[in-house]
């Protein structure tokens, strides 16, 4: 995937001017074609005209990247909801929506490492779940704490899925992925690649917790 190769050359930064990305390609037309492809995959996002953010997971090797695509696709179709815009939104949503919780809350449940902020939940029917939230007074927007995701990809190994979701989401969730791997490495078939300093940091900061038992127990 040439477009991904282009991104992997970039130094990790919080935002890029479009010309910083374009200059990596021989022609402007090819560069814009690649940018379009990457946007479709959910690896980059245009924040404002001429500016992009790039998901930190682009630094992962190709064999890992292919397992991140379902998550990236789901994140692109995510819908955010809020009612009171505080912790209580999460409690209400968890009591009325059935689904697979991932990212912040799942990682916290597994590792006790980072405090959670947003509820990400995979649902079978995103339209139906959105309606349920609306009926309970939630509004769809960009700042809500509750994020519905369409169920895309493999969910047979819940720990593996949560781990890949954390890598794909990137940013602070990358630390969650490292923490999950440190505690549940034996339950993971696909493993990401992380800088040694990051692994050391997580290892140093991790509270002493025992892995919890799960349905993936062999």
């Amino acid at each position: 995937m040439k477009s991904l190769l282009m991104l992997q050359e970039l130094q990790l930064k919080p935002a890029y001017r479009v010309d910083e990305i374009i200059e990596l390609e021989s022609s402007r037309a090819t560069a814009y074609k690649r940018l379009h492809e990457l946007e479709q995959l959910g690896l980059i996002e245009r924040t404002k005209r001429g500016y992009y953010t790039v998901r930190t997971c682009v630094k992962q090797p190709f064999d890992v990247m292919q397992h991140l695509l379902p998550t990236l696709k789901a994140l692109k179709q995510a819908r955010m909801f809020g009612k009171y815009y505080n912790e209580s939104d999460v409690r209400i949503a968890r009591s009325i929506i059935d689904g697979f919780v991932t990212l912040d809350y799942k990682a916290y449940e597994l590792t006790n490492y980072q405090t959670p902020a947003r509820l990400f939940i995979y649902v079978d029917d995103i339209q139906e779940s959105s309606e349920i939230l609306r009926k309970h007074g939630f509004s769809q927007g960009t700042k809500g704490r509750v994020t519905l995701l369409p169920r895309i990809g493999d969910f047979t190994n819940e720990i593996q899925r949560a781990y890949l979701d954390c890598i794909a989401y990137g940013g602070r969730s990358t630390q969650d992925a490292v923490a999950i791997e440190l505690l549940y490495g034996n339950k993971l078939k696909i493993k990401g690649l992380f800088p040694v300093e990051l692994i050391n940091k997580v290892q140093e900061d991790m509270p002493k917790v025992l892995p919890i038992e799960s349905n993936t127990r062999s």
């Binding site: 500016y51 930190t56 959670p116 940013g171 900061d205």
Partner: protein, 165 residues
């Protein structure tokens, strides 16, 4: 652990300390910010290990290095020289007072946090920097930033702010 209450207790026990890292970001952005259980702080008046011990702080050799714990068993990383190359004195003189639940605590200013996060450039710092620029970009003191950061760093932080505001 309530990080604000813990920060207040640390201030009471250690005196002039400035909170940096995730607690610093959280004080600027609100409790919605994600953070780990440890606390990072800058200390201007250095305290010896013995002085820390008399105040209930314990040092242990753990996972290949010495780590300090508060009397409530919270891990603290204490910076006494610089924070990502920014002298501790600068961190202190530019710090802001935040009113906690029971007392005032000192928190690194937004400009110090931006430079420290920019220099660290780990995935978590990239996200923190995006959030700080998105939410606090309009209140950045560019003159102060220029004093503590290199011109290329100022230019890169400007790019991030422009991307969101």
């Amino acid at each position: 652990m309530n990080p604000i209450l813990e920060a207040e207790k640390i201030t009471e026990e250690l005196g002039d300390v400035v909170f940096i890292g995730a607690v610093g970001v959280m004080m600027h952005l609100g409790t919605r910010h994600r953070r780990t259980q440890d606390i990072d702080l800058a200390m201007v008046t250095k305290l010896s290990d013995e002085e820390l011990e008399t105040r209930g702080y314990r040092k242990y050799f753990e996972k290949r290095k010495y780590v300090t714990y508060t009397p409530r068993r919270i891990k603290v990383d204490i910076y006494t020289e610089d924070v990502s190359g920014i002298p501790v004195e600068t961190v202190y003189t530019t710090s802001l007072n935040f009113t906690g639940k029971n007392r005032i605590i000192k928190v690194a200013c937004i400009e110090v946090l931006l430079v420290a996060k920019h220099r660290a450039a780990r995935p978590q710092d990239v996200e923190d920097l995006q959030n700080l620029c998105k939410n606090k970009g309009k209140s950045i003191n560019w003159a102060l930033l220029a004093k503590i950061a290199k011109p290329t760093e100022v230019s890169e932080i400007k790019t991030v702010v422009s991307a969101f505001i």
